[in-house]
Symmetry: C2
Subunit: 149 residues, 2 copies
DNA sequence: GCGCTATGATTGCGCATGCAATCATGAAGA
DNA sequence: TCTTCATGATTGCATGCGCAATCATAGCGC
């Protein structure tokens, strides 16, 4: 191990790489999902997260945490999706403060349509990033993550 | 290699991990830098990127690319920092369409103050993330990135 | 030199976000 | 039961962002 400052600089470097890769991918996803399905990345995430739940529902709180947004942003995000009929709210029967959100049939349909776009854009973005020397190592590391399972 | 769908799911999984880690770190950096130095993460990035240049300056275009923001966002970001005296604009002498931005003395001072905060929060955030099983592998991979140098 | 297109940066506008305050419900204690 | 505090969600407000249109300068062909 080098000097403490070296370690800090290494972490900062890693963070810059992570942030750059993230921003580029998100940018492309945002554009593609928006144009082809009228969904923002956040909106897609919500549908995706909910659909991935065994019983398709989650409380607002858990949802905020899952998509890493503030409570207020989550409220409005859910409003937008509810207005479009992609999900439904309903009161938690045991604690009426809590509110569950649940993807609707229409929501799952839209998600099914958007998923291929999402995957294709993601794959393309990763390939493009792999060509940039400063991002390639992270792309590589990312690819190896799930092999451990 | 598994079925194509497996590969796509693996990439999606990697992306979710990356996005989650990024969001958590950025969240904490944002709060800490804002509270202690009145800087957003974007603003910090601009100062950091500029200070890292050999001659401390960059064109608007390059800056947009470096911080992965739109041109308009970059214009306004630079406006804010210029208003606070943290950087200066000046016309490119050879091409008067181009505009250089350069950190000022005050900008470097503020950056010097903010850097320790940045590093400390980053370190803490990474440690916290390493405790979450779903993020730990990526944190680990990130740590190994710069060792290859 | 004069138009035409390309490039770099800025501005108008609508929208999503975070913070802080607020409202609604639940839980605990006198 | 009534009060008080904690928890979950929503709303008012200010702000930063992206897109598209615009302005300024450069470069090319005539």
């Amino acid at each position: 191990m080098g000097l403490p400052d070296d370690a800090a600089e290494a972490r900062a470097q890693g963070w810059r790489t992570l942030a750059a890769l993230h921003a580029r991918i998100e940018d492309e996803l945002e554009r593609a999902l928006q144009k082809q399905h009228g969904l923002s990345v956040s909106e897609y995430s919500v549908l995706d997260v909910l659909a991935r739940q065994d019983d398709y529902h989650l409380r607002m709180n858990q949802l905020s945490n899952a998509v890493v947004l503030s409570q207020s942003a989550t409220t409005r995000l859910v409003n937008r999706l509810e207005d479009r009929g992609l999900l439904q709210r309903y009161l938690c029967p045991t604690d009426r403060r809590g509110i569950y959100t649940e993807v609707t049939e229409a929501g799952r349909d839209l998600l099914d349509q958007a998923q291929p776009t999402h995957d294709a854009v993601l794959t393309a973005a990763l390939e493009k990033a792999a060509d940039l020397p400063e991002l390639a190592p992270l792309v590589d590391a990312l690819g190896k993550l799930s092999l451990k399972v």
